[in-house]
């Protein structure tokens, strides 16, 4: 397998945030205007600016050919003012090749201290296809930047954690469908679902952590709803997220992320 072809990326999440906010204010932008904006924010020379903008589009942060706008996913994150690291993890996950190399790099070099040629060697040993050194270094440089942006709260391997979250969602969905006899759009009692998840080996703490993450996940939460009932009918007990008490969870469609 070749190392995923990402050749440029933002060095900080703040720069990326500045770009997305600026595009949001001015969309639709002509492609040249977008290039100029990228140059102003990232201070790259023209050839790199072009590659950087292409990388953003390729990853799904921006979209468009002659005119550039925010992708649906980016727009949601910008509208809600959410942490962009989560957006990067989501978009990276959609590109399975990119996701697996990010995860591998975090495993090989958790502190990102290896020099690029050394890291490349280790990746080749892991089975990635050897290619021209300059090309390999260029890709690694960009992917490492993406990894840095994805590190939330000093998490060493956020990709592995994200995969755990996605696995949780897969189990959640299968248990949900078992409860609804295969129907989406039907409410299930959250506490009952939690009991079933426990039987599948998902502990309460893991359940709480991931349900909280799902509740505030701008992309995945958009096809879910949490609702409540009056006290007289809450036999199974409420489930609390922040200040809200919920009783039912409903999935209106599959939570599975379509991967490229």
């Amino acid at each position: 397998m070749k190392i995923y072809s990402l050749y440029e990326f933002s060095s900080t999440i703040e720069q990326l945030e500045a770009l997305l906010k600026a595009v949001d204010m001015q969309q639709k932008m002509d492609y040249d205007e977008a290039l100029d904006l990228v140059r102003r924010i990232f201070g790259k020379r023209p050839s790199r600016t072009k590659i950087l903008l292409k990388s953003f589009i390729k990853l799904g942060l921006l979209q468009g050919k002659s005119q550039v706008i925010l992708s649906w996913e980016s727009q949601l994150y910008v509208d809600l003012g959410k942490d962009l690291t989560e957006l990067l993890l989501f978009l990276t996950y959609k590109t399975s090749h990119l996701f697996s190399i990010c995860k591998d790099i975090c495993e090989i070099d958790p502190d990102l201290v290896l020099k690029n040629p050394e890291l490349l060697e280790k990746l080749y040993m892991k089975g990635y296809a050897r290619e021209k050194l300059a090309t390999g270094r260029e890709k690694i440089y960009a992917i490492k930047r993406l990894i840095s942006c994805c590190r939330i709260k000093r998490e060493k391997n956020p990709f592995k954690k994200y995969e755990e979250y996605i696995n949780f969602l897969t189990i959640l969905e299968s248990q949900y469908l078992l409860m609804t006899q295969g129907i989406f759009g039907k409410p299930v009692v959250i506490c009952d679902l939690m009991g079933r998840m426990k039987e599948s080996g998902i502990e309460r703490a893991v359940f709480d952590h991931n349900i909280f993450r799902l509740h505030y996940d701008p992309i995945i939460a958009s096809s879910t709803s949490f609702s409540s009932v009056i006290k007289d009918f809450a036999n199974a007990g409420y489930y609390k997220i922040n200040q809200s008490s919920y009783y039912y969870l409903k999935l209106s469609e599959s939570l599975a992320i379509k991967r490229r």
Partner: protein, 566 residues
């Protein structure tokens, strides 16, 4: 076939809305009510398809169709019922019966009695004619006993019902009371006049079947039953049982006969779903399994979906413009979505009810209307102000969220690790503000709750800072004593180094005893944190520069006491 065509077009939105209708519709929605005569229903394609298919089946094959619409409060159940009622009411061949499950003394909580009573009230003439047609086969000239005996023999009904039919048919003094008893709208007077006891549910099943069979027009009978969940909310167990049994019998009898041409659409709020299942199962498990198979779950509104948002917004906008005789400026769909998210709380994209989406979009329309010279998209000053205002609100929300997360994180942090958290933030702050953080001089072992800083510029003193994290007033006081002891040790160990001592603590634990101790030690500078304590902690995780500015401005006064000027 005309009926089939009508059914196929059931969910076509009305394009040309009359101004008065538009006003009525907007006014209802503004008051969070489903419009009585709705002119549009957006999305909900699955439910629409299901209803059309079931109705078409019923019309084509004369069979009985049964649907239970289920959804959360405000998902549009009543809107669907109102829509169907409005649509078919315009066509005389259909018989529309719409009622709610509610307390009513005349019908004694029986589904079939409620149904017959509604038919009696709404289709009085048709009902009358149907009953007359039903008994044409019986010779009017038969003596009373023979007439009654003939009815019992022909229709297998109770003596009471047969007597009522006789009185109804006889055209005497008791005809009207008998008619009212047959129509389930009667009291004791009617029964006394007829000299009979109450009719039973099985009698009314028969009455309704006479109506089904002997009415002159043969269009579909559409029964719309709202607030089905009230069976469990407001009825007593005995009433509940009575209602459910008559309901079950109705379904069984109607489904068993292949010529009923009847559609029953019930709407039930899903917040009582568990109760519905339990209640129905307790009375009759077979009924629940039948009910369960007919439930159609209404979809919720997806604020993150551009198509969902723009369809609803466009329909609302057309009616809004018609109602107020105005033309609103064009607005980019993604701008509408952004504003909608903001109105819905701004921190999740979870689905919501249509009612909430509609009222939020109406507020956006109000805003567009009150600012007709600009649009939500324009780049003029007004827009910029609005953007800044919106931006400010978003930052405030981010700030609130950050503080909530910080409090949670602090609560989750082990007691022993808490001083370390404060220490690392203070180190960062001092480093950024022209101080050098050093190990505490004269201490054999460095402490996690103490730090020492040296100014890079002359004129400011060295600082020894003690971080007191306590859970009780008593332990806070003992920490102050500990701080004083350490200070004394330092003065002895490194007399050549001059420094000032600061004691950092949370205000909520400071009681009288602590303050007394503080007054005794005037050489210790107290740094008291109130709510800004969490602002300090949040500095550790803040990413957004604007939010950071809020934190720093809240901390400004407290940090000034530590010679850190923001």
């Amino acid at each position: 076939m005309k009926t089939l065509g009508l059914i196929q077009n059931l969910f076509t939105n009305i394009e040309l809305v009359d101004k008065n209708d538009a006003i009525a519709e907007i006014s209802a929605m503004r008051n969070s009510q489903p419009p009585k005569r709705p002119s549009f229903i957006v999305n909900q394609e699955d439910a629409k398809k299901h209803i059309v298919t079931e109705m078409a089946n019923c019309a084509q094959n004369n069979m009985f169709s049964y649907i239970v619409l289920s959804g959360d409060v405000g998902d549009g159940k009543t809107l669907f019922l109102n829509w169907i009622y409005r649509y078919f009411s315009e066509h005389k061949e259909f018989h529309m019966i719409k009622f709610r499950v509610e307390e009513s003394s005349t019908v004694k909580y029986s589904f079939i009695k409620m149904l017959v009573a509604e038919v009696f009230k709404r289709y009085n003439n048709t009902f009358n004619e149907a009953l007359k047609n039903a008994f044409k086969i019986i010779d009017d000239n038969l003596p009373e006993d023979e007439y009654i005996g003939k009815i019992i023999e022909e229709y297998h009904v109770s003596n009471e019902l047969a007597r009522t039919v006789y009185e109804f048919h006889r055209n005497g003094k008791a005809t009207m009371p008998a008619f009212r008893v047959l129509g389930a709208c009667y009291g004791k007077t009617e029964l006394a006049k007829l000299k009979i006891n109450n009719l039973k549910d099985t009698d009314y099943h028969k009455v309704f079947e006479w109506f089904q069979e002997y009415r002159i027009t043969k269009g579909l009978i559409i029964i719309l039953l709202d607030e089905f969940e009230h069976t469990y909310l407001s009825l007593t167990p005995a009433m509940r049982k009575s209602f459910m049994l008559s309901y079950k019998n109705f379904i069984d009898r109607t489904a068993a006969d292949a010529s009923r041409k009847t559609v029953l659409i019930a709407a039930s709020t899903e917040q009582y779903q568990g109760q519905l299942e339990k209640g129905v199962s307790d009375i009759d498990r077979a009924l629940w399994s039948r009910l369960n198979g007919h439930i159609v779950y209404l979809a919720q509104f997806r604020p993150a979906d551009d198509k969902n948002v723009s369809q609803l917004f466009d329909e609302l906008r057309k009616r809004y413009e018609k109602a107020y005789d105005i033309n609103l400026p064009d607005v980019n769909p993604s701008t509408i979505r952004k504003h909608l998210h903001f109105k819905l709380g701004g921190d999740t994209t979870l689905e919501c009810s249509y009612r909430i989406a509609v009222s939020s979009l109406l507020v956006i329309l109000e805003e567009l209307r009150s600012a007709p010279s600009s649009t939500l998209d324009s780049q003029d000053d007004k827009h910029m102000k609005e953007e800044n205002h919106e931006h400010y609100k978003i930052i405030q929300q981010q700030y609130q969220k950050l503080i909530e997360e910080t409090i949670k994180d602090w609560d989750d942090t082990h007691y022993n690790n808490r001083p370390g958290k404060i220490k690392s933030i203070l180190e960062l702050l001092f480093n950024e503000h022209k101080y050098t953080v050093k190990p505490v001089p004269g201490l054999n072992k460095q402490r996690v709750d103490a730090l020492f800083v040296e100014p890079k510029v002359n004129g400011k003193p060295n600082k020894f800072i003690f971080i007191a994290i306590a859970t009780t007033a008593k332990s806070l006081t003992s920490k102050l004593i500990r701080c004083n002891n350490i200070r004394d040790e330092l003065v002895k160990a490194v007399p050549e180094i001059d420094f000032q001592t600061y004691f950092i603590y949370q205000a909520n634990l400071a009681n009288k005893g602590f303050k007394l101790e503080l007054n005794k030690n005037t050489h210790i500078f107290p740094i008291e944190f109130e709510s800004e304590f969490y602002d300090l902690l949040a500095l550790n995780t803040v990413k957004d520069e604007n939010v950071k500015q809020i934190l720093l401005s809240n901390l400004k006064d407290t940090l000034a006491k530590l010679d850190i000027s923001i």
